[in-house]
């Protein structure tokens, strides 16, 4: 067990090394002069492009550049983002809590609803609930997030004006936040507001989360529904379920105690996939709803050709995905006795 955990933990830095090397490799697609611009922080420095190329070895070999990049990255320097007007690391740190908040607010209902619906579809296979749930899944697959988001905005913001259309806080709450009436504990606006007893700010933050979270939820759910449905159907057809039924155990107990527990094992992988899906979805949803997270910034950075910004975001996303995959693998050794540590 311990050797497996240690060995699996050791692969994490290897993956990150490979990923970052790939990033530096991709950078070679653009000429050194253009890459040098990324090192400038103001217009005056544009005249010193050749100098910047020399000092940063931008015309050197890939390995030389990678070594240099790695040394800087390890000392916490990922470059300067033109789009945010700040160092990349500072931008990531200041914008990540908003994305984390959105992701958490989506992930919990996403997993709960997706697994529930997938299970119901499997139990009532080829009957009405199954048909309804499969229609929901197909629609979720088909309506892209940026279309769904625009429609939701037209209805709930444009026409009904029930929900705000942009940002993560209204003006009043933002001002209250700046005056320090909310203690900075987690960095997540809603949770900090709740901890400080500011119910108005909490409610305001929640209202701003509803539309983006719902958009991500609809788009992310089909994967969970289909996956859970398939694995539940397989479990319901297994020998141990037949044995349980033959012993005369009620269908309820068979489903909940025998089938579902085993069916949920592969769902752990789907949940880690969902996190990766949410990170991608955040780029679109945050842009659409003007939500101040890392995704919206990454989209701006990409459109402006702000390479350090995009690369910083990509590195962050790849790290999160690698860590989540690692945790999933480790979780399997705990929850599934059949997975031995080979």
């Amino acid at each position: 067990m311990l050797t497996f955990v240690v060995r699996r933990l050791l692969t994490l830095p290897l993956i990150l090394l490979a990923v970052t090397f790939l990033i530096v490799l991709v950078m070679q697609l653009i000429p050194p002069e253009q890459r040098a611009v990324a090192f400038t922080t103001n217009l005056q420095q544009l005249g010193r492009v050749q100098e910047i190329i020399k000092t940063n070895h931008l015309d050197g070999s890939v390995f030389e550049q990678y070594g240099l990049w790695l040394r800087q990255a390890l000392s916490g320097n990922l470059g300067f983002s033109r789009t945010s007007g700040q160092p990349v690391v500072a931008t990531l740190l200041s914008r990540f809590p908003a994305t984390l908040e959105l992701t958490l607010f989506t992930l919990v209902p996403l997993v709960w609803l997706g697994v529930w619906m997938g299970g119901q579809a499997a139990i009532h296979r080829n009957r009405l609930p199954d048909a309804v749930i499969r229609v929901i899944a197909v629609l979720g697959y088909s309506v892209p997030s940026f279309v769904l988001g625009v429609w939701l905005l037209v209805i709930f913001y444009g026409a009904l004006n029930w929900l705000p259309g942009t940002g993560n806080l209204g003006n009043d709450s933002a001002i209250l936040l700046m005056t320090g009436s909310v203690r900075h504990v987690t960095g997540l606006v809603t949770i900090d507001a709740l901890l400080s007893g500011q119910l108005n700010i909490f409610w305001d933050g929640l209202k701003h989360l509803i539309l983006p979270a719902f958009t991500l939820l609809v788009v992310g759910m089909p994967v969970l529904i289909k996956g859970t449905r398939a694995s539940m159907i397989e479990a319901l057809h297994s020998d141990y379920v037949r044995t349980a039924r033959a012993k005369g155990i009620t269908e309820q107990v068979v489903i909940h105690k025998h089938a579902r527990r085993n069916a949920l094992l592969p769902v752990a992988t789907l949940i880690s996939l969902s996190v990766s899906g949410l990170l991608q979805g955040a780029v679109l949803a945050e842009t659409l709803y003007g939500y101040p997270g890392v995704g919206a910034w990454a989209a701006q950075a990409a459109a402006a050709g702000d390479l350090p910004g995009v690369l910083g975001f990509a590195l962050m996303a790849a790290t999160i995905v690698a860590v989540i995959n690692l945790l999933t693998d480790l979780a399997y050794t705990l929850i599934d006795p059949r997975v031995r540590f080979g």
């Binding site: 625009v150 995009v310 790849a318």
Partner: protein, 331 residues
């Protein structure tokens, strides 16, 4: 009696009908999907009629004063290798304000652009993007998967680690990096999306090839003295392509949508290019109507949105049905 004979007749049919035929015979969603795709294909092929060339595009195609629909040669040229001006939505004016459906703009206009023109030629763009990227992806992923699975050893290790690294990025985020590096534009979107989506196909094909290369007929070809490359390309590859079919169909549906998302983010095609994502980006400014008329600009969001959603729905229905048919657990 007749019911019995028809059932017997159905059972008597050979089991080895093509996957497509079997999929359509049982599956209503698959048929709906196929009809939808057929409609979109028709729109793409009839684009010069449904949205006749205007302005610079007319001049590029050398149309006469009275001619509205291009003649056979110009028609083919506009469809296969359209001049740049024909893929640009014609401007009806420079007023940003959307205009409701009228005689010359049956689906309304937004930002001065004719929505109908954008949707019709956007359909052509979608098929062009889908076919090009899928062709590149299948070639790249296919060769990598085949080489890794068939030759094994160090090559397999190297190629599969490359696949792992590609998979380490969430797809859209790697596309973002590539587009930021290459710059926006149709050609760069095609390159970026191809460089990202080959990995899944390579893995699938490799596992198929690993299974096939141990079969007797491969050993037979080997003992007859066929060179290894010939066995790989002539004997193994064609048989490994079956499971790829459902992925290809699903990608035909999803890749143009991802391209549309990139356009929506301002990373795709240049402003005014006839593609669906552009129209949604233009529509985004008009989600709120003037006071008292909340749905005044309904046509700006509804038509492009429906167009995208139904396209995606069609390919998804067909792709899912094919996937189910190809899954041995469902036989």
């Amino acid at each position: 009696m007749s019911a019995v004979t028809s059932r017997l007749a159905r059972q008597a049919r050979p089991a080895s009908r093509s996957v497509l035929a079997r999929t359509f015979r049982r599956n209503v969603p698959a048929r709906v999907g196929a009809v939808l795709i057929g409609l979109y294909l028709a729109v793409a092929l009839l684009a010069p009629v449904l949205a006749p060339p205007q302005g610079n595009c007319r001049r590029a195609l050398n149309l006469t004063e009275t001619q509205t629909i291009p003649g056979p040669a110009a028609y083919l040229r506009e469809l296969v290798a359209p001049p740049d001006a024909c893929l640009q939505m014609p401007r009806q004016g420079f007023a940003a304000q959307p205009k409701p459906p009228a005689a010359d703009t049956p689906l309304g206009s937004v930002g001065g652009y004719d929505i109908r023109y954008g949707l019709v030629w956007g359909t052509r763009t979608a098929f062009f993007l889908g076919l090009t990227i899928v062709a590149l992806t299948v070639t790249l992923g296919g060769l990598i998967g085949l080489a890794a699975g068939f030759f094994g050893g160090l090559l397999d290790d190297l190629l599969m680690r490359l696949t792992d690294v590609t998979f380490a990025f969430p797809g859209l985020i790697l596309v973002l990096v590539l587009v930021a590096a290459l710059g926006p534009g149709l050609q760069n979107i095609i390159i970026a999306l191809s460089l990202v989506s080959w990995a899944g196909l390579a893995r699938l094909l490799r596992s198929e090839v690993l299974r096939l290369r141990e079969l007797d007929y491969v050993a037979a070809a080997h003992s007859l003295g066929s060179p290894r490359v010939r066995i790989a390309l002539r004997h193994v590859l064609p048989n490994a392509l079956g499971p790829v079919l459902s992925i290809v169909v699903l990608e035909m549906g999803s890749l143009p949508i991802v391209a549309g998302a990139l356009s929506f983010l301002g990373l795709g095609t240049p402003l005014g290019f006839a593609d669906w994502g552009q129209l949604i980006a233009l529509a985004q400014k008009w989600i709120q109507g003037p006071p008292g008329e909340p749905f005044a600009y309904w046509y700006v969001t509804l038509f492009p949105g429906l167009c995208i959603a139904l396209y995606s729905l069609g390919w998804n229905l067909l792709g899912d049905a094919l996937g189910e048919q190809l899954d041995p657990r469902n036989r």
